[in-house]
Amino acid sequence: MKRLLALFLLPGLLATDLAVAAENSARPLNWTAIGMFMVFVLFTLGVTRWAALRTRSTRDFYTAGGGMTGFQNGLAIAGDMISAASFLGISAMMFLNGYDGLLYALGVLAGWPIILFLIAERLRNLGKYTFADVVSYRLEQTPVRLTSAFGTLTVALMYLVAQMVGAGKLIELLFGIDYVYAVMLVGVLMVFYVTFGGMLATTWVQIIKAVMLLFGTSFMAFMVLKHFGFSIEAMFAGATAVHAKGTAIMAPGGLLSNPIDAISLGLGMMFGTAGLPHILMRFFTVSDAKEARKSVFYATGFIGYFYLLLIIVGFGAIVMVGTDPIFRDASGAIIGGGNMIAVHLAQAVGGNLFLGFISAVAFATILAVVAGLALSGASAVSHDLYACVIRKGRATEQQEMRVSRIATLCIGVLAIILGLMFESQNIAFLSGLVLAIAASVNFPVLFLSMFWKGLTTRGAVTGSLAGLVSAIALLILSPAVWVNVLHHQQALFPYSNPALFSMSLAFFSAWLFSVTDASPRAALERGRYLEQFIRSMTGIGASGASKH
């Protein structure tokens, strides 16, 4: 009997030795993954070339000529949301804490219906290239554009850093390429897509990747279910039997135990999505409000489907990855850290070939998302700052395009530098923080500008700035930074998510500084609301798609 047991244990032990050996020596280059990724890069560069030939005007550059269909745009939006941070981060959270990972996913998803009901159609009817177009519709251009561009750049850069750090580590691990080169490779390809192919290339790269990721995750979920005889109950039973926390993983744990923190995180997730500039920008790529509406319907469907698959991936991995010593190093920790769970599962269900595919998809995911972020940052610089504030609308299209390309290049360089500086942060957590900032800086003024007649320039500017300053200050004073990064004894702000407080403060200051604004300019701005309201409700006067 003992001998039999040893026989069962032997392959496991051998594998552990092999894994340890691999860990000690330099990680070999993964040629399957590199090969598949090369195919993706070549193909997307072809797409970029095709898009470059069709990108002649600023309108083409910022919004793909407004010619995307609702379905295409829905896939692209879904692609933006199912980033590497959510694919790897949420499956890792489910692996570690079970149900708590689902809470993150639900917060992001629940924001989409709200975006559809309140934001999507209005944004399309009122705006042209950036969400600052909408905020500044009836307000003073210069101050509002300046603060909106500042908000866009803060959010885009922080999100970019989160993605870059994740990218560097992931690629180092998957492909055997050094962190420094990995970050630089992502930066260079991102700049390439955006400067040459503009929004058209950025959108198609995002669509291609979304299809690949949805396909890959569906396959993983299918194989997990097959492993458990297509019984969800059997999968959960298996997971609770082997997980250190037992049946506790099937119920909410510590993540949202504090009501204030729970609501704050929920608000940040929900309204943060509605304040992400690279997402808002996508509503200008469709021809009219009807297509904008359809794109959110498709996007919600794809995002929801993806998160349902992640439940299967995360819980399946508890059994199929967690109990397999091949995926653990000598000290028993998961090789490559918690964020590698989904990648290990790919190997467990589909062998090396599928591991290569998922690795390539993960890389592609990062590229597609950072390209969108870079484009939104660049459009804030070239459209809001350069064309509208500095040149007061007198810049030619060529000049504006040149500035946006230079801006993309600068953002690329900055992203690489920042990516190298912030190496060790949990990526899901970091993108959660970005959402809290977006919910405080961009969302309140965007919402008020569309729904409240009383908003004035003074209110909009103070509202954004109050949101920005309070969100960042509270983040620094929160346990995540004050204790974990700066190593103080106790956090000055007890909650881990600032959204509830910073968002309320942004709304309150926008309101207070608007109602107390008795200037003649404020009276004019309130007077222009009716025209804006009619256009936002009916689409009369809204910009259409360009003819190709």
Binding site: L106, A110, F117, N258, G304
Partner: protein, 102 residues
């Protein structure tokens, strides 16, 4: 739009009806989504034990079912909105646009 156009549209019965219907549709659906989601968040915060109950004697919990249902409800609500907007709101909007173009 000239000030006369704006005034004309504002007083147009179709515009008044459009605004009323549209607002009723999006505010009620927004309220529904907020109640569902924050109801869930508060349940998680105040009474996680309810969500940890077994669904039917097995390991699968009530909370897991609720989570999946929220995903499906969110999708269903967007679907309902698009259906109503396409079939009720848009025809009204088109009618208004044509009348104002004349």
């Amino acid at each position: 739009m000239s000030p006369e156009d704006i005034e004309l549209i504002r007083q147009h019965p179709d515009f008044i009806q459009l605004v009323r219907r549209k607002q009723r549709l999006y505010w009620s659906l927004t309220a529904a989504m907020l109640v569902i989601y924050y109801g869930f968040v508060l349940l998680v915060a105040f009474s996680p034990a309810h969500l940890g109950q077994s669904l039917s004697g097995g390991v699968t919990t009530v909370g897991m079912l609720v989570g999946v249902l929220i995903v499906l409800t969110a999708f269903a609500l967007t679907g309902f909105y698009v259906y109503r907007a396409n079939n009720v709101i848009d025809p009204l909007n088109e009618k208004l646009k044509q009348e104002c173009a004349r």
